[in-house]
Each structure stands twice: as C-alpha cells, then as structure tokens.
C-alpha cells in the first residue's frame, strides 16, 4: 500500500481515540534531564570527596553547589505538569508503595536534604566567618545558618571533614538511586513498548552522569573564562577523559538496548522499528545515536588520546560536552515523548507538535531550565566556590 512505515498489517494509521494527545510532554522531558544533571554533578564532586581524585579538587565544591542548584528545580517541571499541583503533598502522605513513582517524593527530598547538609558542613567555616564579620540583619542570617555556633577550631574542622566524606559516600548510592529510579519509572511500564526494558534504569543513570559531567565542564569553562584567570589544564584533560569514558559506557548501553530489541524480533520490535524509522528518525537515528553520539566519541577521543594542549583541548572538550548535553536532552525526549507516539492500538503513530506558550510549553521549560543557573549565580555571590584566587595562571605543560 502507499502508506509505508506503519506497524504490521495495518492499512491506515489508526490510533486509539484517547491516544490523540501526548499526556507526558516537555515537562516530563526536562524533569529527568535536570535530575540527571544533579546526579552527574554529584558524582563528579564525589570523585574528590570520596575517591580522593586530586585533580578534581578545584571543582569538587563547585560541582556540589551546582548539583544543589539543579536539585532545587528538579521537581518544578513535575508541579507544572500535574493537573492538580496543589495536591502534590499527597505523595508524602499516602505513598502507594506498589507504584514506582510513589517514593520519588521521599527519595528526592531526602537527597536534597543530604546535599544541603553536605554543603552546609563544607561551608560552615565560611558561614562562621561571615557571621562574625557581618552586622545587623545579615549577621542574624549567618548566625541562623551556623545554628548559633560561631566558633571554629581544628577539632570541629576534622570532624566536619569526616562528616562530609561520610555524606558524600552515602550520597553516591543515593544519587544513583534517585536517577536509576527515574529510569525505573519508565522501564517498568509494560504497556509502552518503547519504555519497557530492564536496561532503562542503567541507561538513565549512565546518561545522567554523562550530562552532569558535560554540563559541569561547560560551566567550568564559562566561569573561568569570565574570571579570566586561566584554566587548570591538568584537570581539563582528566575531565575530558572521564567524560569520554562515561559516554562510551552510556552509548554501549544504548546500543545494547536497541540491538537487543531488534535482534529479539519480538512483539515490541514490530512497533518500535517503524517508530524509529518514522517519527523518531531525525531525533533518534540521526540525532541521539548518530551525530550527537559519534561526534563526541570522536572529538573527546581525539582530545583524550592525542597530545592536544591548552586552548585546543578546551575547545574540543567544550564541543564534545555541548554535543553530549544535547545528546542526553534528545535522548530524554526520544524516550518520554517517543514512547507515547506509539498508539496502544499498535496500528499507528500519534502526531506530536511542540507548543510554545502553553502551560507545559517550551517557554516554561526554558524558564525552568534557566533557573538553576540563576540560583547558582546567586549562591556564588555569597560563598566562594572556587578556592584560592587563581588556580593556574600559567597553563601547565602536559606529558
């Protein structure tokens, strides 16, 4: 027939009447995206705090504050999405434990509290200094933030250091839980062929780390550029290698998933194949799996393996990071919206159109996505995020 690219034996594109509207749209795309940035940034910060990777010391606190800034807004898209946002508290009151979504409230808020405490412990010295310097209202603010303890001595410093390490230690599994769990919310829905795979939590988690590390790299480059005090190229190299390896792992999982579904030739493939060759061809085949994956692997591979130095290294790193930040965003879209494009009639695909000014439109999404950066900027006005005045004014020679 002339209608090509439809599943199975169907002669026309038939979707169930209630499938005409995509229920989960852009808000649910950026929600796992922002959550992923939190998890990725936290893991990066823990590289130093827990695993003692010295190269990442200069950005350990920065990544932590960034994780917190993203964390503040991770659940905001959900509130915009809910039909009855004023009832959100019910997820804390009567969490239905059979539901994959039900403990999200607890996992998310406990993680945010953990982040807050860790930042508090690490910056307590700064808070105390501010409390002792400031006068008037600001003094009260800092005093409350210190919980009334305005002295700092070596013993408490030692205690804080251990406490911070402990928090970062439990923070890693917690961050993985937070994001792997988001993947589970999708992967466990048997009714949506494109979501239902046990690999989903791992794919979400690994792509979260990739997007977080890539975002940190770009933010770091930007901030250092604005400050004009040079870059720590030893760390930049390490950064790039970490990102490259994390993405290879992530890409391997994504390839594994699609290879498995296609090789299996099962019921799912019957609808997934026309989906990927039809509505998702540009965003999945060309975008997510094509240019936005092979590009970074190549660019970051060159930057990691060849003897590339200084600015060239920085440019390659940023190019790779930009592509990866987009790759993960597109991947979230392909999963969340893509899955819903397959009508449950199994005989047709839903038409999806971007909205701009709607409640769940692109404008809202962009605004929410800018907020963490604004938050980071505000926090950075109050506390020093990059220690010391200048880390490395003279670019170091590598090798």
């Amino acid at each position: 027939m002339e209608q090509l690219g439809l599943p199975g034996d169907t002669l026309v594109n038939y979707i169930f009447p209630n499938n005409a509207h995509v229920t989960w749209s852009i808000m649910i795309v950026i929600y796992p995206y922002i959550t992923g940035l939190v998890a990725g940034a936290f893991v990066l910060s823990s590289m130093y705090h827990v695993f003692g990777v010295k190269e990442f010391k200069p950005i350990a606190n920065f990544a932590l504050v960034a994780a917190f800034s993203f964390g503040m807004f991770a659940a905001v898209p959900l509130l915009f999405h809910l039909g009855q946002p004023q009832r959100f508290y019910q997820i804390y009151m009567t969490p239905h434990t059979t539901s994959a979504m039900s403990i999200f409230g607890y996992v998310y808020s406990s993680y945010l509290v953990l982040l807050m405490i860790e930042i508090w412990v690490i910056y307590r010295k700064v808070f105390i200094e501010k409390a002792n310097e400031a006068t008037g209202r600001m003094r009260n603010f800092w005093w409350v933030l210190c919980l009334g303890i305005t002295t700092y001595n070596p013993e408490s410093a030692k205690f804080d250091k251990q406490f911070a390490k402990f928090l970062a230690g439990i923070g890693i599994p917690w961050a993985c839980l937070l994001h792997g769990y988001v993947g589970f919310v999708f992967g466990s829905v048997k009714a949506v062929a494109w979501w239902a795979t046990p690999l989903q939590p791992f794919i979400f988690l690994s792509s979260a780390i990739v997007s977080g590390v890539a975002m940190m790299f770009m933010m770091y480059s930007f901030i250092m550029w604005r400050r004009g005090r040079g870059y720590d190229y030893v760390m930049v190299k390490k950064f790039i290698i970490t990102l490259w390896m994390a993405f290879i792992l992530d890409y391997a999982l994504e390839v594994l998933e699609i290879t498995f579904v296609s090789y299996e030739q099962g019921a799912h493939w019957a609808v997934i194949k026309p989906l990927l060759l039809g509505p998702l061809y540009e965003s999945y085949v060309l975008g997510q799996m094509g240019f936005l994956s092979l590009g970074p692997i190549l660019v970051l591979g060159i930057a990691s393996l060849l003897d590339i130095k200084d600015k060239a290294l920085l440019y390659l790193g940023n190019l790779g990071s930009l592509m990866l930040v987009l790759q993960v965003l597109v991947m979230r879209f392909n999963v969340v919206v893509g899955g819903q494009l397959i009508s449950k009639s199994e005989r047709g695909f839903v038409d999806y159109e971007f909205e701009f000014f709607a409640k769940e439109g692109l404008l809202t999404a962009t605004t929410i996505f800018i907020m963490p950066f604004v938050t980071y900027y505000i926090i950075s006005r109050f506390i020093p995020i990059f220690e010391g005045k200048s880390i490395d004014t003279e670019p170091k020679r590598l090798h």
Binding site: Y89, Q90, Y92, M93, T94, H96, T98, V113, I117, W120, R124, C146, L147, G148, I149, T151, N153, E155, S156, K158, F159, F163
Partner: protein
C-alpha cells in the same frame, strides 16, 4: 564564654532534623484523609463520591410512571427490545425533579436516526435488518427530506 564542643553544630543539626521529622509526622496525621482504607489503599469516602454523580438515563422503568399506555403498546411492538432512551434521549433532558422540562421526541434528524442502525454496512451482522441505497431509492417518488417515520411507525416498523 565557654568554647562549645567540636560536635555542637552536629547535635544542633540533628535537633533541627528531629524537629522537622516531628512536624512531618504531625502533618501526616492531619493530612491523611480520615476514611483512608489502609488495606486497599484508597480514600473510603471515594466510594460515596463515585456513587453520588447524577443520573441522566433513567431506564424504561422511569418512563412507565407517565407513559404506561405507550409502554403497554410498545411491549408488543417490533422494536420492543430497544430502550426508550435509545431513540428519545436521556430522561434528565426530559424531566427534572418530577416536572417535564422538554419534549422527548426524536431529534429532527430522525431519518439519520433510522439509517444509523438500518442502513446497510459491511460491518453489521448479516441477520440484522438493513437497507441499502437501492431499497431506499425504490421510494423515489418521495423527496429526500421525507422522514421514514412518516410512513413507518418508529415503535413498530413494518415494511
């Protein structure tokens, strides 16, 4: 002033978290609906809510109250297995609080009303009485606007 213990801030933090936890438990005690069914995990009052929606269709029993004669006649008719509201519309559009608010005649499109069921379609069961365009065209002395029910009784339609 005495130097506070190096862990004093930790103790206070624990205190803050403890207070937050108590506040949470209090809120939980207040905000969980009182009729909550912990075994089946739903608000017990929801059953009442779901039962409380207003009826639109009353069923044939509700028609008998005023239209006993028609019902007696209808019970022998060819269309007897149909419910009144299938063609006449919902009771709620006809009677409100025991008072008639509107006529319950068939809509003006009653030719559609007949054809919707009886026009021939491949998907209809073979033993179901259906008329294709040709049969209807045998009535060609009639104009297109003429209603089926002008000749065929809607309750007891005979050819």
């Amino acid at each position: 002033m005495k130097e506070p213990s190096p862990k004093a801030h930790f103790v206070r933090l624990a205190g803050v978290l403890g207070v937050a936890f108590v506040v949470f438990l209090t809120l939980k005690a207040i905000l969980v609906p009182s009729s909550w069914d912990y075994d089946n995990w739903y608000r017990g009052d929801a059953l009442e809510l779901n039962a409380s929606y207003e009826l639109a269709y009353g069923g044939n029993d509700s028609c008998v109250a005023c239209h006993q004669d028609t019902m007696d006649e209808f019970s022998q008719a060819k269309h007897q297995q149909l419910s009144c509201e299938s063609c006449h519309g919902a009771l709620a559009d006809h009677v409100k609080d025991g008072v008639k608010i509107a006529d319950a005649h068939m809509d003006d499109e009653s030719r559609w009303q007949c054809l919707n069921c009886h026009e021939a379609r491949v998907n209809k069961p073979k033993d179901f009485p259906q008329f294709d365009k040709i049969t209807i065209n045998e009535h060609k002395e009639l104009d297109d606007e003429m209603l089926c029910i002008a000749c065929h009784s809607p309750h007891d339609p005979t050819p």
